[in-house]
């Protein structure tokens, strides 16, 4: 139970985030967003803004410097006159102060020729197509056996369509970059990123620099949840601005602008067909997904991929269809794919349990499998059943009356629900160095990121264990692209991937030390690429089970979570203290998904209209009462030297279904369209 190592810095305000580094005479940028959804910019009128005292520059497609090579169309800032979505950055102002920059941005007038556009996702859109792969490299469609035939011939059938809305990551720290061009032509960025190395690489490409000439510094990042996993336009904007005015420039995306420019989770429409024997044994699973991306970039969320993993069935099909709409570009948001997909799968399983008259926990146990159903690979470890049993036991599941609806307490309806969780145990190749000094201290270096996950603390514990040293003698340096190259804090792969490189570097160092450290110290390095290539083929996934008790006000349709318990099987837990918080944090975001989070697209304008934290509701303190997480012991030799699986995302997976299933148990009403607000629930009560 180790406290966060940077805890003191964070509670005293000493921890610096991207906007907060002392810079020599900084200027401030503000961005102008397009007010049309599709079309061409005919003219940018910058003169009014330029006349404002304190304005240093206005940049747009009319005068922006040419970018070198842009791997992500979202980063091609001011490189063309084409507008691809409403809210896209079309110009920026750089000024002496933030107030001047923001005001001047309102005085930049942009003329457009507007074109007809379509921003509405529907399952019968003629433009829907099958992407080559879904994020990151999964096949769009899979099929085994005769799914339709088996479904039609099944004794118990569920055929239901679920929808999840667009959701925005909304980390508390807005996407922020402070950029400085140095006298030697190198570029320094203080950036709110989930990966300093990948950002360094991409920024170097965009500006045509040698990679070593870009340095990205990000020791503290105020959350990301996927939205800071790739550089967003703020990075290019700040660097371009700093170049234009020859001074350091700071830019934080205003909260309202984040809703168009920093990514979000695609809305989904998901049709599920489950066919089972009378006892609930699945014969057929058909999961069809419809979702959106922008015209600018193809981001195909892997929504049906968990369906390929969780339950056995001889006949099965999954498919993804994507519509490229005139909308902002969706991207990663905490457990992309698993989160919306498992809402649908685990809701459908609850419906099947009811239809078959089988207890929902038992139904899931009955359809457990020791091989990954579609690949046929053995699981490196799989303890879904243990999580279900442990959770049911701790939660008091046996007291649940099976019949849905009618569990009154005063004017409140009370119910319990369950859902399974799953998330892949990814690993990516990384590099690290470990150094021993004569004074008995160790320094481990890797360009990992701690976006609140506790990575700094976990890596220190991992290094100390590998070095057989006390943790207080070990310093782990992260959050800087000048450190050995590391992969992004994403895919719940950080600790496993970085930790392996750290362990290997430390092991190598210990080998060199041979019991003593010579004058000047010793250093060793590691690169895990070859090790990862040589791994045996296993299906590696974490699992979990989430139990929720809700109360529903029968007069108002308000749903409140009374208590929630997640039990997870995620390999070895490195630091219980921060791990518990990670699980609970994911579950909390799942409560938000279930009950309140919804970005509302107005298809007449092409943007999300509720673009602030007063209208896009994330859970507040009062929404989170008795929420707890636990885990089962899981020893898995096929993972990595720590025996760990990722824990950053699995907490949100299944959480929304667990809440929705509890609402059904409380009320007898099945809400298939998230979130379950009074507007949706009350008319059905």
């Amino acid at each position: 139970m180790t406290d966060r190592l940077e805890g003191r810095e964070k509670v005293t305000g000493a921890a610096r985030y991207a906007y907060e580094y002392p810079l020599d005479d900084p200027a401030y940028a503000a961005a102008v967003q397009s007010t049309i959804a599709k079309g061409e910019i005919t003219e940018v009128h910058a003169d009014a803004a330029l006349r404002i005292p304190g304005v240093l520059a206005v940049l747009s497609c009319e005068n922006a410097p040419h970018l070198h090579e842009v791997p992500d169309a979202e980063l091609a800032l001011f490189q063309s006159r084409t507008v691809s979505y409403r809210g896209q950055f079309v110009a920026m102002v750089v000024a002496e102060t933030l107030d001047i920059a923001r005001e001047a941005a309102r005085h930049v007038r942009v003329d457009y020729v507007s074109e007809p556009f379509d921003a509405r996702l529907s399952a019968d859109d003629p433009r829907l197509y099958k992407p080559d792969t879904v994020n990151p490299v999964f096949p769009a469609d899979t099929e085994q056996g005769d799914p339709e035939g088996a479904f039609n011939g099944s004794a118990v059938r569920v055929d239901a369509t679920y929808t999840t809305p667009a959701e925005h990551n909304n980390p508390m720290e807005p996407h922020t970059t402070a950029a400085r061009w140095n006298d030697d032509g190198t570029l320094t960025l203080y950036d709110s990123t989930q990966g300093s190395s990948p950002t360094q690489e991409i920024v170097a490409q965009v500006f045509g620099l040698d990679r070593t000439h870009v340095r990205v510094i990000s020791p503290h990042v105020g959350g990301g949840f996927g939205s800071k996993g790739t550089p967003r336009p703020n990075v290019v904007l700040a660097a371009m601005a700093a170049g234009a005015v020859g001074r350091p420039v700071k830019f934080a995306v205003p909260r309202q602008q984040m809703f168009a420019t920093t990514g979000y989770r695609t809305p989904t429409i998901q049709r599920f067909r489950l066919g089972a024997d009378a006892d609930g044994t699945l014969n057929s699973i058909i999961h069809e997904v419809f979702e959106q991306s922008s015209t600018l970039t193809e981001f195909a969320e892997q929504t049906a991929t968990p369906t390929r993993v969780v339950y056995q069935a001889a006949n099965r099909r999954t498919s993804h269809r994507l519509a490229r709409l005139d909308v902002p570009t969706p991207s990663w948001m905490r457990a992309p794919g698993e989160t919306p997909g498992m809402f649908a799968l685990e809701s459908a399983m609850d419906e099947l349990a009811f239809a078959a008259g089988v207890d929902p926990v038992e139904l899931r146990i009955r359809n457990d499998t020791d091989r990954e159903p579609e690949s046929g690979l053995p699981f490196s470890s799989r303890n879904l059943v243990a999580c279900l049993r442990e959770g049911a036991d701790r939660f008091g599941w046996e007291h649940r009356d099976a019949a849905p609806g009618g569990h009154w307490e005063g004017r409140k309806l009370v119910g319990m629900g369950v859902a399974a969780s799953t998330y892949p145990a990814y690993m990516r190749p990384n590099k690290a160095t470990a150094r021993a000094d004569e004074d008995g201290t160790f320094t481990v270096r890797i360009a990992a990121a701690d976006i609140g996950t506790g990575a700094r603390t976990a890596l220190t514990l991992i290094a100390a264990e590998a070095l057989k040293a006390d943790a207080d003698r070990v310093t782990v340096e992260i959050g800087d692209s000048s450190l050995p190259e590391a992969t992004v804090a994403g895919g719940s792969a950080g600790t496993a991937s970085w930790g392996t490189a750290v362990v290997r570097a430390c092991e190598s160092l210990r080998g060199k030390m041979n019991g003593s450290v010579p004058p000047g110290g010793l250093e060793a390095s590691a690169d895990t690429a070859a090790e990862l290539d040589a791994r045996d083929e296993y299906a590696r996934h974490a699992f979990g089970a989430q139990f929720t008790e809700v109360e529903v006000d029968a007069d108002t349709g308000e749903v409140r979570v009374r208590r929630m318990l997640g039990v997870f099987a995620a390999g070895r837990i490195i630091n219980p203290k921060t791990a518990r918080s990670q699980f609970i944090g994911g579950m909390t975001m799942g409560i938000g998904m279930a009950l309140m989070e919804e970005s509302v697209m107005d298809p007449r304008f092409g943007d999300y209209v509720n673009r602030d934290l007063a209208q896009y509701h994330v859970p507040a303190c009062a929404d989170v009462r008795d929420v707890d997480a636990a885990w089962v012991e899981e020893s898995d030799p096929h993972l990595n030297p720590m025996g760990s699986k990722g824990i950053g995302e699995i907490g949100i997976v299944g959480a929304a279904a667990s809440v929705a299933n509890a609402v059904h148990h409380a009320t007898g009403v099945r809400v298939r369209d998230l979130p379950i607000t009074p507007a949706r629930l009350l008319p059905l009560l």
């Binding site: 349709g557 107005d602 607000t677 009350l682």
Partner: protein, 324 residues
């Protein structure tokens, strides 16, 4: 935000003198600064009235309260006299915003909050309230949290204040100093329905300064209840301020005001009339609620507010009846 001159008024005369065309009074700033930063409001001058000598709460001999316009929302809700004599008012204030916002916000400013309609708050979109004649995209857009009562072709916005809903039920009145001297406006007349000129939220004229709110005594069971999409720190979908006096099973006095349903706090006079003298039973509460909500004209996304408001009326009156 447009640059502006800042003046601090020491007296009401000062304030009126400093207020000229394009000037706004500044209280706590919790809504005005927010809207200025969005480019929705563009005052050329702010006249800070937060330090005018209107910071007292007075319990007068007749049991009425005189609440200074500069009293902070937190101070109002924490005041022992208010909690004793008008607990519903304290409940309503506490239901609004957050602890830190209530510390900044003033009574006068609370009454003059502007709608949280998302189209109003986006200066790049049409809005008749912000830009008269530009149209109302909310009418056929995302209106799940907008008005069901008293709206117009021009505007379907709701008034966001919780406090004002309680004041409406309490028959409060607002003391105003204007260029023509002092006057008192019943709270029900302060806020307007949108009609064809939704840019005007209230009947106040340029330069008018709210100096106090007067709350007559009401010593019958009352309560404020707010329904929202998260458990705290959210605007009302629908809220209710209600008071009920039952004698011998019969309704002697009843007050019902609804929030989140109209351009102003909605005093449910039809329901009240139907209930006065009627038996204090659920069927009558239901009938009265329906009589009021017969007036409702729900929009595409907010039909749920009709049963929600009805249920709130019935439930709240039922609970108050049990206390009576």
């Amino acid at each position: 935000m447009r640059p502006f001159a800042y003046e601090r008024a020491a007296t009401a005369d000062d304030a009126l003198r400093l207020h000229e065309d394009g000037a706004y009074y500044l209280g706590g700033g919790t809504n005005l600064v927010d809207l200025m930063r969005l480019g929705v409001e563009e005052p050329a001058r702010l006249v800070d009235v937060s330090r005018l000598p209107y910071g007292e709460i007075e319990l007068r001999p007749d049991g009425s309260l005189l609440i200074g316009a500069a009293v902070g929302n937190s101070d109002l809700a924490a005041d022992r006299t208010v909690r004793e004599s008008q607990p519903m008012l304290a409940q309503a204030v506490l239901a609004g915003a957050s602890g830190q916002i209530r510390n900044l916000a003033t009574v006068g400013g609370n009454l003059l909050q502007r709608t949280r309609c998302s189209y109003f708050q986006d200066a790049d979109k049409p809005c008749n309230k912000r830009d008269p004649g530009s149209g109302c995209p909310a009418r056929d857009g995302d209106n799940h949290n907008l008005a069901i009562l008293g709206h117009s072709e021009a505007c379907v916005a709701t008034h966001p204040s919780d406090m004002a809903v309680a004041l409406a039920a309490l028959d409060a009145s607002v003391h105003v100093r204007g260029r023509g001297g002092e006057r008192t406006i019943p709270i029900g007349d302060l806020h307007r329905l949108p009609g064809n000129d939704p840019q005007r939220d209230t009947v106040l004229e340029s330069g008018d300064l709210i100096t106090a709110v007067e709350v007559p005594p009401l010593d019958i069971p009352s309560r404020y209840r707010k329904v929202r999409e998260r458990a705290s720190f959210a605007f009302a979908l629908v809220s209710i301020a209600a008071a009920l006096d039952v004698e011998g099973g019969t309704v002697r006095d009843v007050r019902i005001a609804l929030g989140g349903v109209a351009h102003k706090p909605w005093r449910a006079r039809r329901a009240e009339e139907a209930l006065r003298g009627a038996p204090a039973i659920g069927e009558e509460f239901q009938r009265a609620a329906e009589a009021e909500l017969d007036l409702a004209e729900p929009l595409r996304d907010n039909a749920y507010k009709v049963p929600l408001a009805r249920n709130l009326i019935v439930r709240t009156l039922t609970e108050l009846g049990e206390q009576s």
